[in-house]
Amino acid sequence: MKRIYSVLVENRAGVLSKVAGLFSRRNFNIDSLVVGETADKSVSCMTIVSTGDERTIEQIEKQLNKKIDVIKVKTFKESMSINRELMLIKVKYNRDNRRDIMENCQIMGASIVDMSKNMMVIQICDTSERIELFIEMLKSVSIVEIARTGTVALTKCKEQ
């Protein structure tokens, strides 16, 4: 099962390694982990996506809560939250496929943010599934590099 953990932590040196270390020590998966500041500068928010059985999911939450630098843990299913990931993808293009690529970008709501004579960088912000789909669509083009942020998530305004 996939779960998203939104973890508020003290914004201090070493906290990221403590939380990441907990996952490896306890044999929990990390699908993705994102950290950023919150409106309160003394607090950071980590968004961790993990998979595991029911017991593991419960243990992850409990073990996170046990960490002394952790202020609050919220756990939710993907369907309960708005989830977004940013990807930058660098591709080679030529006269023949340029139009195709641009059409794909238009369909998927991606934008071209940098360009040279034969390469372009495309930016897309969407759910992980749609980003996977976008990569699939670009498979026929020569992909040079990909950088993805991992998922950030907030619970929906009206909780289900």
Partner: protein, 541 residues
């Protein structure tokens, strides 16, 4: 005032009586300031034992144990001691010196990233960046170590922070304000009532006590609760001594190395109160089966333990002493489980394993430990090391009003002698024994010098069989007696070791010598080394 003075002041504010440690340049400013205090300082012989000493001290005094060592190898040597304390939830504050702040990260002499290295063995750690933070950090460290699920906290203090001028007035915080750490103390009243209902309903209730009961000092409350409700008690290794061994409601230690009748009692119960126990692999072989045909109540101060190893339960989170006080207050029933207790007594009689006594050339461990139990003071503190000697101690030592200490979670060889030293310093009036094999003795015999230097009279029993017996026993069963890496043929002459450290010494090599030897062994309050020759081929069961 400099940082090192501020540290000493913090320790005084925490009423620290004794600190175990080792010197080194990076921790020298601290030891220099410690000269001016009457806090007892014990220079141990290797850093690991500083943590073990502090652990023994903490377990007997009920306070937080303190140790301090230098940076680099001093700090890394301490790790096994810290991990041992972590596995058994023993409250420690470990102070380590560190290289100058501006050098950190450049691999200078005796630098080690100790906060990084101990992360998975500590409850929390600090690297002190600013001298002004010292009072707050120490206040928090002692609070974290000694509250909730107890455990070790490490404070790493760079040399320049120890020597920096502490501007302003030193004031030790009276209260803690940590938004992230608020351990649960009181049990949820709805859950408490639910548990009491289950106890009233149960026909075959049983309580399994773990080390958490000692940590919460809830022994009396549990014994009273068991007596009032006529509920039998079994224990994990860490829970030995919660109830006196000869109590009519006590039915021994559970687990692979425990008594068969204790396991049977637990399995056949219809209500199991698991109290301050992790349901660890050595205590419960198949945690998935333990909840079959019964209601299980799991009482623990750490919510993460509930559901970690064992399935559906009635969870009850909080301090055990508080919870059992509430039980005693809420529960006015005097239940009677005569039939159940009678059945367990029959099991105990039937399933008592008769050991074949050792041949004349050896001391039989069962006979020896039985006699030792009768010879020691009623309130003696018995520290068992790790290995076959530990299993024999668990099975045959009878705790009366004293304590039984051992390294249960980590199983760290060489724990007993330093832990016994710490225990003796916590309560000098009590008789303190360390019972150890010849393998672990050679891991820790350097501390005989510390015992002599500070006159810490621990009574040591070395069960000598020339083998790492527990592993030899494993190889006997699992590898058809193909012994690999378990023979200790280079063992030293223990009489010379004892003489070298100025200790009394005696060798016992037959059952007929036991009685007389024990009188000599325990006749006064002086350090003594007793060598007990055990059959190398003896088994624990």
């Amino acid at each position: 005032m400099i940082g090192a003075q501020a540290i000493v002041k913090c320790l005084q504010c925490e009423n620290t009586e004794v600190i175990f440690g080792y010197s080194g340049v990076a921790i020298d400013p601290f030891w220099n300031e410690m000269l001016k205090t009457d806090i007892k300082k014990v220079l141990i012989r290797t850093e690991q034992n500083a943590a073990h000493c502090a652990s023994g001290y903490a377990r007997v005094s009920g306070k937080v144990g303190v140790c301090a060592v230098t940076s680099g190898p001093g700090a890394t040597n301490l790790i096994t001691g810290i991990a041992t304390a972590y596995a058994d939830s023993i409250p420690l504050v470990a102070i380590t010196g560190q290289v100058n702040s501006d050098m950190i990260g450049s691999d200078v002499f005796q630098e080690a990233d100790i906060t990084g290295a101990v992360e998975s063995f500590v409850k929390y750690s600090y690297l002190v960046r600013n001298v002004e933070d010292i009072p707050r950090i120490f206040k928090e460290a002692f609070y974290i170590a000694g509250s909730g699920r107890k455990g070790p906290v490490l404070i790493d203090i760079p040399f320049d922070v120890q020597t920096a001028e502490f501007s302003g007035k030193f004031s030790y915080p009276e209260t803690i304000s940590m938004r992230t750490y608020k351990p649960t103390v009181n049990g949820n009243i709805v859950q408490i009532k639910k548990v009491i209902k289950e106890v009233e309903k149960a026909k075959r209730p049983i309580i399994c006590v773990g080390g958490g009961v000692h940590l919460s000092a809830a022994e009396d409350e549990i014994v009273r609760f068991a007596e009032i409700n006529d509920v039998p008690v079994v224990s994990t290794m860490m829970g030995i001594g919660v109830m006196p061994t000869d109590h009519p409601l006590y039915f021994g230690m559970v687990g692979n190395n425990g008594q068969a009748y204790a396991n049977r009692a637990m399995n056949e119960s219809d209500l199991l109160l698991m109290v301050g126990a992790r349901v660890a692999d050595r205590a419960v072989n198949r945690p998935d089966l333990i909840t079959e045909n019964k209601v299980m109540v799991h009482i623990d101060v750490d919510p993460a333990e509930i559901g970690k190893n064992v399935g559906p339960t009635i969870p009850l989170v909080g301090d055990i002493k508080h919870i059992f006080e509430d039980f005693l207050e809420q529960d006015d029933h005097n239940d009677n489980h005569d039939d159940w207790v009678k059945l367990l007594k029959e099991y105990k009689k039937e399933m008592q394993v008769e050991r074949k006594p050792a041949g004349a050339a050896y001391v039989d461990p069962q006979i020896f430990i039985n006699k030792l139990s009768d010879a020691v003071d009623r309130d003696a503190i018995y520290v068992a090391d790790v290995g076959q000697n530990q299993m024999w101690s668990c099975s045959y030592y009878k705790v009366k009003e004293g304590r039984f200490l051992t390294s249960g979670g980590m199983g760290t060889m060489g724990y007993s002698i330093p832990a016994a030293m710490g225990a003796k310093l916590a309560d000098s009036k009590k008789q303190v024994l360390a019972v150890i094999g010849d393998g672990a003795f050679q891991m820790s015999m350097m501390e005989l010098a510390t015992m002599r230097q500070y006159d810490i009279p621990v009574k040591i029993v070395v069960m000598k069989n020339g083998y790492l017996g527990m592993v030899r026993e494993h190889q006997h069963f699992a590898y058809d007696d193909n012994y690999s890496m378990v023979e200790l043929s280079g063992d030293p002459d223990l009489s010379l070791i004892a003489a070298a450290y100025g200790m009394g010494y005696m060798k016992v090599d037959g059952n007929s010598d036991i009685d007389g030897s024990l009188i000599e062994f325990l006749k006064d309050d002086k350090a003594f080394l007793m060598e007990v020759v055990v059959d190398p081929m003896a088994l624990t069961r």
